[in-house]
């Protein structure tokens, strides 16, 4: 069970949070302009990296805020935590 440092509440147990998948997937501005493949790429495809993963967590049993986490999916170490809208930080696994 991870210890996650919520940017709003501080360190809390993983059980207070939900992981909500890959971060930085912007909804296409004009979905109609996309081919079916491009639309599927947005809706379904994921990077799923072995290594540094930028992902979204929500503090659903706390402040209910969404934020981003950079975590190494091999070591499960949390490398950075940053707020929604911020650029992905440079991190090393």
């Amino acid at each position: 069970m991870f210890l996650i440092d919520c940017p709003w509440c501080g360190p809390r147990q993983q059980t207070e949070f939900h992981c909500q998948g890959e971060a930085h997937i912007a909804r296409p501005k004009d979905p109609d302009a996309l081919s079916d493949e491009e639309w599927a790429n947005y809706v379904f495809n994921r990077t799923n990296p072995k290594g540094v993963h930028f992902e979204r967590w929500v503090h659903n049993h706390g402040c209910r805020r969404w934020f981003n986490v950079a975590r190494d999916t091999v070591t499960d170490r949390i490398l950075a935590i940053y707020r929604m809208g911020e650029k992905r930080p440079k991190v090393k696994s």
Partner: protein
Amino acid sequence: MSKYSIFSLARNALSYHEDWQRAWRSPDPKPEYDIIVIGGGGHGLGTAYYLAKEFGYKNVALLEKGWLGGGNTGRNTTIVRSNYLWDESAALYEHALKLWEGLSQELNFNVMFSQRGVMNLAHNLHDWRELNRRVHAIRLNGIDSEILTAAQVKKEAPIFNVSPDSRYPIMGASIQRRGGTARHDAVAWGYARAADARGVDIIQNCEVTGLTIRNGKIEGVETTRGAIRAKRVGVVVAGHSSVLADMAGFRMPVESNPLQALVSDPIKPVLDCVVMSSAVHVYVSQSDKGELVIGAGSDLHVSYSQRGSFDIVEGIMGALCELVPMVSRLKMMRQWGGIVDVTPDRSPIIGKTPIDGLFVNCGWGTGGFKATPGSAHVFAATLAKGEPHRLAEPFALDRFHSGRLIDEAGAAAVAH
């Protein structure tokens, strides 16, 4: 391959078992093969076996980065069933179940496939409706399935609490009597031995580090044991499918999540059949050694560490003690995790990739073990012909473009 039987066992006993042959060779990789199968789990080993046996390929290599069966094959709760809702799934899993039924004899290796029945519990009206929907569909697909009342559940699985006063009372269940369990390691070893006997080079400790692709066509693989050429490559690496796809330069609708399981200490038989309750996320059976084998849920985050969060285990324990009160004083002897690749529709992906000659078989989620022989067989056919096998066709990667999903997840939706 020397044949296994009670007679060979007796004969070898006379020589103190000093004359048994190796179950499979340990060859060095050749520079080129007709087909390379990446991944030495049950699905990959089975694929190599059927390529040699059914499709006559003599020059096949199977590459495994660690030890055979070291991924999900050796980490699952060994449940086998084919009681799937959608026609496409039912056909594929039933194909597998039929192969399971003759697998020990086919491989001359006892995989201990034991048709002790798989029961799915219903706890509320929504479950009951879904259960009926499944049983009707399964039966009309020509597959066995029955509905049990709570009293019949008690008879089949006396340790279960069917009291109407429990938090989520058991209303009834469906049971597939042809379902059951198998010895997971034996599946890998049995296929490995049989594939090796038909000339497949099984190469362990050989990790694929890159794919050689020219003009959109696969030409071979880079490995920790050197480059190996092949015009056709099949990727069967549950948990690591995205890693291989990344080497080929494409992404897939797959996420790798931890899935945990645990066993109790061994006790004398108390449970014959497999019992599953998706409403409270408990799956339990008793192994031939006497351990209760318990499946916990999967975590929602991506991880390649073969570990999940302890709260998943904690979370199922209350439900388990409520459903099976006698377990309260038993003990968790061992817990572990695997990496499952999960697709948006909870159905596998089998078939072509954007790279010519590169095929993929992945996305089995939490249920790959049961499909092992069927998955291996249709994937071998797909690799052999270069075109998807009839049963594999609906599971193509491009279903996510067209929207023709085979949604085994959505069908369990709860609302109202």
